[in-house]
């Protein structure tokens, strides 16, 4: 399979200002030395809780946030060092869908203008062609072109999310970062939008980088999943593999914490102790060790590398060895 996106040692630190001269006195290590790749046509998911850096990571991949270190390779070409104006032509092939259907549409522009803007900016076609394209895309995402001249506030959350999707696909991109695309929507609307995303992927041969926290959603739409914790990727695997054989203790706890809509399922829940530590002062060694029931001294001293334990199943834990051999025990 061809790799569409490759991310190598990606790092993003945000400064924490302070002191007499408002100089950085610390860094929020939002994304810290993360590597992964995304195959063409697949849905690759970054899952994690708040503070895991998944959203920052997703936005950095398409250079909406400037990386501190590391390499981003898109279609075999390194884009990390490109200036924003050099990036502009590339934006035709990479797009983003946002979480907040209320904040992501300019309230002063009518819907038709919002969807047409990418065409306008990239100077594609005549005005007539652009307008035709807008109508086509609106139909494609399930919006009636009648509402071309309406303003965002006249639409419901689900419809706004469709507008955002229309804007993202109007340029026919190859790659879309979907940042929590359904988490702000009502349950009955979530399914509609998920169906739309799946449907568009098939029709337009899209590659998705899905950033999400809802594991049921992620399981339904993704091919491969990377689990993030405090700026690190701690486990990467194919979806079915990850759900059937989670190897990292954090992944196990995360999966067990998901509530299931079935009163008969009474699961053994792995309750994690305490809170997620601050990304400004992450724990030494393995970042999960403060909440891990298997933590030993080595976890404090050494950071576990992300190793391939079984063909495309990567885990970063001292006690998971090649061949999915797990050696952790409760101390």
């Amino acid at each position: 399979m061809k790799k569409l996106v490759e991310v190598q040692n990606l790092t993003k630190y945000f400064p924490v200002l302070g002191g007499v001269f408002s100089r950085p006195i610390g860094w929020v290590k939002a994304v810290d030395d993360v590597s992964f790749h995304i195959y063409e046509g697949e849905t690759f998911a970054l899952v994690g809780e708040s503070g895991s850096g998944k959203t920052t990571c997703g936005k950095t991949v398409i250079r909406l946030i400037e990386p501190t270190k590391g390499k981003i390779i898109f279609e075999g070409k390194e884009i990390t060092k490109l200036s924003q104006s050099e990036m502009r032509p590339l934006r035709r092939s990479m797009q983003i869908i946002f979480q907040d259907p209320y904040g992501s549409l300019n309230p002063r522009l009518p819907v038709g203008e919002i969807i047409r803007e990418p065409l306008l900016v990239h100077n594609i076609g005549t005005k007539k062609e652009q307008e035709d394209r807008v109508v086509d895309v609106m139909k494609l995402v399930g919006l009636s072109p009648e509402y071309l001249h309406r303003y965002p506030h006249e639409f419901s959350g689900g419809q706004r999310q469709r507008i955002g999707i229309a804007r993202a696909i109007v340029l026919n991109p190859k790659f879309i970062v979907a940042d929590e695309p359904v988490s702000a929507l009502d349950a009955s609307i979530q399914a509609q939008v998920l169906n739309l995303l799946l449907d568009l992927q098939k029709k337009l041969a899209l590659t998705y980088l899905l950033v999400a926290h809802n594991l049921a959603v992620v399981r339904h739409v993704s091919d491969r999943i990377a689990v993030t914790y405090l700026g690190k990727v701690i486990e990467v695997a194919e979806t079915t593999e990850l759900f059937s054989v989670p190897l990292h203790p954090y992944t196990q706890a995360l999966l067990s914490a998901i509530p299931v809509p079935d009163p008969d399922v009474k699961r053994e829940r792995i309750l994690l102790q305490g809170d997620i530590p601050s990304p400004i002062n992450p724990p030494s060694g393995c970042r999960f060790r403060t909440r891990c029931r298997f933590a030993k001294d080595i976890c404090k001293e050494k950071e576990p590398p992300l190793i391939d334990v079984d063909g495309e199943h990567y885990v970063a834990c001292h006690f998971v060895k090649k061949g999915k051999k797990t050696e952790y025990t409760v101390s």
Partner: protein, 328 residues
Amino acid sequence: MRNYLIRRTLQSIPIILGAMLVSFIILSLVSDPFAAMMENPKVKLADIERLRKAWGFDLPVYLRFFKWFGSVLTGNWGPSLLYPGYSAREIIFRALPITLQVMGLQFIFSLIVSIPLGIISAIKQYSKTDYTLTFFSFFGMSMPTFWFGLMMMLLFSVYLKRPSGASLLPPGGIITPGMESAPFLARLGDRIQYLILPVIVLSLNSIGSWVRYMRSFMLEVLHQDYLRTARAKGLPERRVIYKHALRNALIPIVTLIALSLPTIVSGASITEFVFNIPGMGQLILNAELKNDYPTAMIALTLSTVLVVIANFVADIVYSFIDPRIRYA
């Protein structure tokens, strides 16, 4: 907090310097202070030349500024050109307490009136009381200070008379002639009579706008989730308002009041002019119009420093009311 204080102090310095420079440049545009002197036959031309040189009028403006600034730092604030024989310092320290009295009273009076009215207006939103208060705040906000001053003078000194035939309140000035050596209480009573009108006139504007601001900050707070929590705990409504809502609504008011200080000083100058009060405002106006720029500059600088200090104090007060502001 310590770092923050240091940083704020450091930040204030360029602001004060900049403000001095701007004032200096504008004042030196006004005209040559020595031109007027030349018309006075008693002053020798050589003396004028000497003064000119001493004040750096042979230099370009920016160099003159540094010369002046240097002498200010060494404590030599220069002579008053408006009141020959006096130093600028003497003139200013005679005017400053009067202005501080007027402004201090105005400040306290405005706060005492506007904060409760703002709260009432917010709690009773869309009631008759609210509409009435709203109308009167607009009334206050829209009133040109000097004109209101004239109208009040008209009312209290022309239309309203004491049985003795004297006017109810003195139309201007700061002291009844002959009262200078009266006992303290008598002097105090006399002073209060003179201050009533200026303070009311000056307060009107700030009361008008502070009531509106207090109302809107309070309304904002009244819609916060934590007030619902407070009510859900079973707290009496009084406690919900005065403990939970008020403190949060006061946070933005502190900043706002600090920011409105320059306007108060500006307002003071014209009010002092109207009521003929020998305070800083009138002094600055007179000094700059009569080309007494040593006095005008020092007076302006002092006003600026006052404003900067007030902003500084406001920030510290702010950090006490709002625990979220923790200065690194």
